[in-house]
């Protein structure tokens, strides 16, 4: 297993390098931190030129990339080009923490709900519950997150709140905490997380429940399950001990993969809900031409995807010892 992990690590480094080159080139191609200064009549051309020099933008692209890479491998993420020299790491760290909280709640909650729904659907195959779950799941999979987010905002923030006569709404439509809040308040944070988590979760629950249903149906038809039944075990024990445990393998893999992708893929959700996470940081850095922040966020996201996927593979081995043996 150790060799397997090391092997995966070795293949990741060139991938990360390729990503950094592509992002660096792309960011410098499409955006410039001094763009808005170009047409500002209060800024003299010589001042602008001096400022670009100050930011190091006068250097050739390749030179700037090597300098960035050299610093990056030594753990120095550099300074922001648009935040007057602020260190990049604290900026990324804060966004990362916010995103991880959002993902953790969404994935864990969705996993629990998806597994429960999928199990019930599989056990009661063809029943009303199964059909209803199937219909709702397909609906959940079909609805785009951005549309769902907007609908949730309108429903909870506007229509329901107006109907109840509550202003501002119980579930806020944007932000990390209530305006004016100056100390940490768990309930307030959870209220602000509710809608983005819901927007993210609906699709995840739908996907996980479908995976769980089909996986459990496959497992339940295997010989060892029939043998367990033949030994006279209670159906509940058969389902939980022999069915669900084995059926969890593909679901957990999917969840781990989703979690990794979500780290960088929350752009839409975070934008819609004005949530200050990695997705919004990425967009702001991209459009602001702040390539040190952009590169740091992309590299950390890519690394997170890799780590989570690797963890999923390892976890897969824990659930299924045959995979551990294969890895050896």
């Amino acid at each position: 297993m150790a060799r397997y992990v090391l092997g995966r690590l070795a293949t990741t480094i060139p991938i990360l390098l390729a990503i950094s080159v592509a992002v660096f080139w792309g960011a410098n191609r499409v955006s410039d931190p001094t763009a808005s200064l170009t047409v500002n009549p209060r800024i003299a051309p010589e001042d602008l030129a001096a400022y670009r020099e100050h930011l190091g933008l006068g250097e050739p692209l390749i030179g700037r990339y090597w300098q960035w890479l050299g610093n990056f491998v030594q753990g120095d993420l550099g300074t922001s080009l648009v935040q007057n020299g602020a260190e990049v790491w604290p900026i990324v760290r804060t966004a990362m923490a916010n995103t991880l909280v959002l993902i953790a709640i969404a994935v864990i909650g969705s996993l629990a709900l998806g597994i429960a729904i999928g199990t019930v659907s599989a056990v009661r195959r063809g029943s009303f519950v199964d059909n209803a779950a199937t219909t709702v799941s397909f609906l959940g999979i079909s609805i785009p997150v951005f549309w769902l987010g907007l609908m949730l905002q309108l429903f909870f923030g506007l229509y329901l709140a107006n109907w109840l006569g509550v202003t501002p709404p119980l579930l806020p439509t944007a932000g990390l905490y209530s305006p004016g809040q100056q100390s940490f308040d768990l309930v307030d944070r959870l209220r602000h997380l509710a809608l983005p988590v819901l927007a993210l979760s609906l699709q995840l629950v739908a996907v996980y429940s479908r995976y769980m249903r089909s996986s459990l149906l496959d497992v339940m038809s295997l010989d060892h399950v029939r043998a367990a039944r033949g030994r006279g075990l209670r159906e509940r024990t058969v389902v939980v001990r022999h069915g669900v445990r084995n059926a969890l393998i593909p679901v957990s893999t999917q969840a781990a993969t989703d979690a990794g992708q979500l780290v960088g893929g929350l752009i839409v959700t975070e934008k819609v809900f004005q949530y200050p996470g990695m997705g919004r940081l990425f967009l702001d850095a991209l459009f602001g031409g702040d390539y040190p922040v952009l590169l740091a966020s992309v590299m950390i996201t890519a690394a997170a995807v890799f780590v989570v996927n690797l963890a999923a593979d390892v976890f897969y081995g824990v659930l299924d010892p045959r995979i551990r043996r294969d890895a050896r």
């Binding site: 170009t38 500002n40 509550v166 501002p168 990390l176 309930v187």
Partner: protein
Amino acid sequence: MNQPPTRRRWAVVVIASAMLFAACSGDSSTSDAAPEAPASTPAETEVPAAADSASGGTLVLAVEQWPECINPVTSCANATWTIWSVLIHYLPRLMELDQTNTYVASSLLVEEPTVANGGLVTADDGTFTLTYRLNPEASWSDGTPITSTDVWFTWRAGLDTTGTLSTIGLDLITDVDHSDPHTAVLTFSEPYAPWPTLFSGLLPAHELGPDTDIADQWNDEITVSGGPWIQEEWNQEQHIMVPNRSYWDTERIPLVDRVVMVPREDTDSELLALQTGEAMAAFPQPFPGARERITGDLTYEVAEGTYMEGLWINQDAPDRRFDMTRNVRQAVAYALDRERVADIALGTIVADPPVLQCTGWNPGFGPWCQDDFARYTQDAAKVAELLEAEGWTRPDPDGLWVNAEGEELVLAWNTVAGNKRREDVQALVVEMTAALGIGWEIINYDPGELFQNRLPALNFGPVALYANSTNPDPSVANLYDIDGVPTEENERTGQNFTAYRSQQASDLAFAIDAEVDPAARLELVHELSQILADDVPWIPLYILPNMIIWDATAVSGPGAYVSSPYGGFFDMFDWTVHEE
């Protein structure tokens, strides 16, 4: 009509909350507040008179663009919202714009410097002396008097700070005499007419000094205020301000207890925050359909903004098929029905949007803008006369004009891809000029490509549709400086993006900057304006409006400074909130 909350409604809330988070149901503040929630819709709630609710409460404002940092000298201050949401509320000004966007002495000055009172003196050797007499009662929020040393420090910080951006004007100052605490005497190397634009944010020497490089200070905290507000907190999630109770300008001591600004970084989010009651006012970019979308308790005010939009004609366009001569430029101007263009661009925001009739001066500021361009109304006969005078013919009466070399009058036209307003304008102009024999080849770019790569390299057009910012001061030298045309020789510096090379216009533009007598300056401005209307370096279309929206049931007072370069939140010291 809404009914009082019922058990059924609360059951819905409880179920919905339980589905999301069990923890949410324990929010005592919301569950406690619910039974006391108003039984009527906001529309049914009477708006209290301002006098009845003249103090107290928290004002929550939605801010469209959140500053990345708030240092008043570095690139942080280039973001308009750094000024609108932060600096304008804390930093005192020497001269300031009133509600009519005219520069007047601020309460920091005893009087406005004029030629008559000896405040403005042009010496025989060409130097220019400006004397500010400071109000002795003025002080920073920590009690330290505001003195001429602060003027000196602000000047030096503007020049000495690492990464300083705008040194225009400051670099002409050779000395600031601050020997008398209440008198600052500034010496310029030459007359500088836009002097009122300088020192629009005075810095406290005692707080930031003695080092005049302040790049590492005040990036996320303004520790001392010389304005109506004191900063309590600023971060990427909110900005909290409380009144400066010791502000010497007692008429501007705020009426509310607290202001909280929160980021809502697009128009839809701002509008939603206002509709849901999560914010009370916003100062968004005007958006199409505003007149239909702002309904219910929300009200809004629209006025001229600070960006002028038009067709900028690049006389050096590398891909031009013929020279963009004065006749061709005038013909294009006569081919347009600019009233229809303004209406298609802004008609859903404001009724009967006015057409901009001058190039460089915003009608909302001072007396500078005359109607020199009013002659350019759609006129097919004029188009024909101008083009025929240069040998253009129209072999097919329904076709395009063709020059002697056989080139059709087709103009490449760039703007920002995806900008609906501008794309609507393009579609209309293509349609309206087709009958007059002028064709267009539309090639749009993303903003980065157009503004960063093509504009500075004059690699656009020959026609581009975009907006340029205007200044209350009639200084337009950057636009028409004959040496400011970006070229290989000057390493693409300069902002004369039309490549308009008129020595007379360029000289006049610089003369305007050097004329400190307002009446004489106005004459120069009008003289230049007439030349520009004859030469048509670009075709003005309209001024983009500013807009402020507020919930009339929650707040009173917004709307007085909509067109101000200080932003619509400038006068929030006069606003009141209606608290239940």
